[in-house]
């Protein structure tokens, strides 16, 4: 662990070294729109940590929202910290420079609260590395008084057991309200003489907060979980016990929710170099593989007027040339046509408008045409599976006819490059389903050829990883060897001019499948792998498979138990005590319907599907325009 230092790192100390590392502006800060706040007078010093490189972290809208919300408070100062690339890590370790906040240049260990955003499981080793480089003991039990409170949120917080021994507090669900409540509890605790344990107990009483150290996990002989229960003697000052089930937080309406209209603009180019407006949160399409479709329910749309205002303000404050209307499925926004017309044709904000995701239909192609304003770049569509049978299983309500129509319409409107997203290894998939992906791509290519365009069809096939809180959470992930075989099968069938085949590294799928549904025991393997040098595991050329295999061996854990085992329907799952609002019963019924190839409608456009969210939280889908049901 880096030696604990309390003083800010001087610019002079850093600048002599930075020429030795790749992309040194990752570590210099100085972004546009950083609020000018004085440390004196602030009660809570907060660092938002993103466990990946700067240019990825700076493109993450959720972090920008939390940064904005926290810095709006005069008593809180929020700084940011990102995972240093391996060259910078070596430099820091060699020179004794600890990991520091980009604005205050204070070592991580000097902050009151460090909050990590856990977007994907393969960043876990980076979280450990950031703590260690920042002079913070890795395990919660070793962090006594004086060390920062380590919190984490994001989608992985809904099934966080593999990283639970390293994180004091998880935040479940929408963070913009609960993060302020955590700051309040922390501030009150800081002004009291209570112990750190007392702080954790107080925090466990905040809705949406999960304190893993307050829960006991019992295991059966076969390694599955027997029970997850709050520990005895977890009484907080108010006398309440840590809840047996922790519900996620939901912001009922986005209309009044805070949004950063003066976003941070990095000086080096981030991966998404454009202004972003969150036009809605949540998706009720009900794709059975999709975790986000469960853990962000219900749909909450912003109004046209608010989006219009936000876009104008964002462009003025940023200087971006493009504004992206982001959400899980932006083409599903209830009045997307009106919104796009308003933003593009009336062009109030003087910038290009883009939609990150399109549906497979001619309506979406029309949108793409309007957005491209003459310039025909590429189109990306996600049929996800090659046959109707498979698409019914995963509840992706797209037919081959839709795809053919969309492609025909796209070619006739000047598009020639079409990218298609698929998954391989879905439950119930056969070789015919895999080969059908190639057939589909070839059919689309032929349509293009018949229409005298020179089509380029890119097929991108990722390995399916069963995720917690989905209808497929009980399913086994196929083995690496089988995934490679199916990838080759598809690759061989996809040869030819105008066809491009891209696929994900099978070992990444393997490791993600282990950690996505892992239990607390996996933390041993995680720490061993980190100590052996695992970093940036989401980067295919960085993931060291043998190192991980050794780590599983040394920790006495069988990776297949986590990745390739079908879970029993009555099994206690490691995230059963964390409540997304969608009932286990609903997910089970979806699993059974998947096996029978029965689809479930979108509750935005049909009757309630009884997933449980609206009933539990007293919420409902909020649409910009009410649709007739």
């Amino acid at each position: 662990m880096a030696e604990a230092r309390n003083e800010a790192i001087s610019w002079n100390e850093i600048r002599w070294h930075l020429s030795k590392v790749e992309k040194p502006s990752r570590y210099t800060g100085g972004e546009i729109n950083v609020p000018k706040k004085d440390r004196t007078g602030t009660d809570v010093l907060f660092a938002l940590g993103f466990p990946d490189v700067y240019e990825i972290g700076m493109s993450h809208l959720g972090s920008q929202i939390l940064y904005f919300v926290l810095n709006e408070r005069p008593d809180v100062l929020c700084d940011r910290v990102y995972a240093p690339w391996t060259d910078m890590e070596k430099l820091m370790r060699d020179t004794g420079i600890p990991l520091f906040g980009l604005e205050t240049r204070l070592p991580l260990s000097s902050f009151d609260i460090v909050g990590f955003s856990l977007q994907y499981e393969l960043t876990y080793t980076n979280v450990l590395n950031m703590l260690d480089l920042g002079g913070v003991p890795l395990r919660c039990k070793d962090r006594k008084e004086g060390y920062p409170l380590i919190i984490a949120g994001g989608p992985c917080a809904m099934a966080p057991e593999p990283i639970a021994p390293f994180i004091d507090v998880f935040v479940l669900g929408d963070g913009e309200e609960v993060v302020l409540e955590i700051a309040d509890v922390y501030k009150a605790w800081k002004n009291s003489c209570e112990s750190r344990d007392e702080l954790l107990r107080d925090l466990s009483l905040v809705e949406g907060v999960y304190v893993p150290s307050l829960y006991d996990i019992g295991y059966k002989r076969d390694g599955t979980i027997k029970s997850i229960r709050p520990k005895e003697r977890t009484r907080g000052v108010s006398g309440d016990e840590a809840p047996a089930k922790i519900s996620r937080r939901i912001v009922k309406s986005l209309e009044a929710a805070p949004f950063p209209v003066r976003p941070l603009i990095p000086l080096m180019e981030p991966i998404h170099d454009r202004a972003m407006v969150e036009i809605m949160r949540g998706c009720t399409q009900g794709c059975r593989f999709c975790q986000a479709g469960t853990i962000y329910r219900p749909v909450r749309e912003r109004s046209l007027e608010t989006i219009d205002d936000l876009s104008r303000n964002l462009i003025d404050a940023s200087g971006y040339e493009e504004v992206s209307l982001v959400s899980l499925s932006s083409a599903d926004y209830s009045c997307i046509e009106e919104l796009v017309t308003r933003l593009v044709k009336e062009n109030p904000c003087g910038a290009r408008v883009s939609l990150p995701s399109l549906r497979v239909d001619s309506f979406s192609i029309d949108l793409a045409r309007t957005l491209s304003s003459g310039q025909k770049v590429g189109l990306t569509l996600a049929p996800e599976a090659g046959t109707q049978r498979m698409r019914d299983i995963i509840n992706k309500k797209v037919t081959e006819e839709d795809l053919i129509d969309a492609a025909t319409y796209a070619f006739s409107n000047g598009f020639s490059n079409i990218k298609l997203y698929f998954m391989i290894g879905l439950p119930g998939e056969t070789d015919e389903d895999v080969l059908a992906i190639a057939d589909l791509a070839k059919k689309i290519r032929q349509i293009g050829r018949n229409m005298k365009v020179r089509p380029n069809i890119t097929v991108s096939a990722s390995g399916f990883v069963p995720k917690p809180n989905t209808a497929f959470q009980w399913e086994p992930c196929i083995s690496q060897e089988e995934l490679v075989r199916r990838q080759r099968l598809l690759g061989n069938a996809l040869r030819g001019p105008g066809l491009i085949y891209k696929y994900h590294d099978a070992k990444t799928t393997w490791l993600e499948a282990i950690f996505a549904r892992g239990d607390r025991k996996l933390s041993e393997a995680l720490e061993i792998a980190y100590r052996k040098g695992a970093r940036f595991d989401a980067w295919p050329d960085m993931l060291q498979e043998n190192l991980w295999k050794e780590s599983f061996r040394e920790s006495g854990l069988d990776p297949s138990f986590y990745a390739h085992r079908e879970r029993g329907e009555d099994e206690v799952l490691p995230w059963d005590h964390l409540d997304s609002g969608v009932t286990k019963q609903f997910l089970l019924s979806e699993r059974h319907k998947a096996r029978r190839g029965i689809t479930t409608p979108d509750c935005r456009r049909g009757p309630c599907v009884k997933c449980g969210v609206c009933e539990k939280f007293g919420v409902e889908n909020v649409l910009a325009v009410k649709r007739e049901v």
Binding site: W11, S19, T28, G30, M268, G319, Y320
Partner: protein, 239 residues
């Protein structure tokens, strides 16, 4: 509306020395938009601002005499009889001083505007008029006598071959022909163990050399120094 080409003399300061040239151009373009400069756009599907940058600085090097040209689309009333020869106090200069002010307010810490002035549209390209750059190279933990000797020996040579390693190839240049002169800055108050070398590096046919290459090649003349542990500032561009 008429086109007006203006030259912006700016500073890429210490805090932004690690920005790449490409990132700096992005920062400038975004700042021009935030400052609402009436920049002329190129025609076509993806219109781009008509902005040109000169003599790119490498990552890690600060510049205190940098230039970019911006073509503006301005109302006739600002130009009228005005030309680039109009004196200070003219409407054009007042207009440009307002623009300079608005741009200054939107720039990140470390980037600042020294001057904005009009130039003839058909002026000879700026890049080809650059004769040399004057650099300050700060070094630490280096023996002064050793450094002085190495510089003297370097300058005595009529030719110093230097290999530039690129990703896939190596190119050999005669580094000596780019160096007009180099010397240790005599008066300095830079802190303990820090020395500053001044050097003038020529530009010829769009080519020039980097001060770090000189530091690298001084190893052949008895100096042991890490060219990645120097702080380089370009203080002047000579035309």
């Amino acid at each position: 509306m008429q086109e007006l080409k203006v030259r912006v003399n700016y500073v890429k300061g210490d805090q932004v020395r690690f920005l790449s040239h490409l990132d700096l151009t992005r920062v400038m373009r975004m700042a021009l938009r935030r400052a609402n400069w009436p920049v002329l756009m190129t025609q076509g599907f993806s219109p781009k601002m008509k902005v040109s940058f000169y003599s790119a600085l490498p990552v890690g090097t600060a510049g205190y005499d940098e230039y970019m040209d911006v073509v503006l689309n301005v109302s006739d009333r600002f130009l009228g009889k005005a030309s680039t020869k109009s004196g200070e106090g003219s409407e054009v200069f007042q207009f440009l001083s307002l623009l300079a002010h608005s741009l200054s307010k939107t720039l990140p810490t470390g980037v600042s505007i020294k001057q904005v002035f009009p130039v003839e549209k058909d002026e000879e390209p700026f890049e080809s008029r650059i004769l040399s750059s004057l650099y300050h190279v700060h070094m630490r933990k280096v023996d002064e006598i050793c450094l002085t000797t190495a510089i003297t020996e370097f300058l005595k040579c009529s030719s110093v071959p230097y290999n530039i390693n690129r990703r896939k190839s190596t190119k050999t240049i005669d580094l000596r022909e780019f160096i007009s002169w180099a010397q240790i800055k005599p008066v300095q108050n830079l802190g303990p163990d820090i020395l500053c070398v001044l050097m003038e590096i020529k530009h010829a046919d769009g080519r020039t050399a980097r001060p770090q290459w000189v530091i690298d090649s001084l190893s052949e003349f008895g100096l042991s120094a890490d060219s990645k542990e120097v702080i380089v500032d370009r203080v002047k561009i000579r035309r």
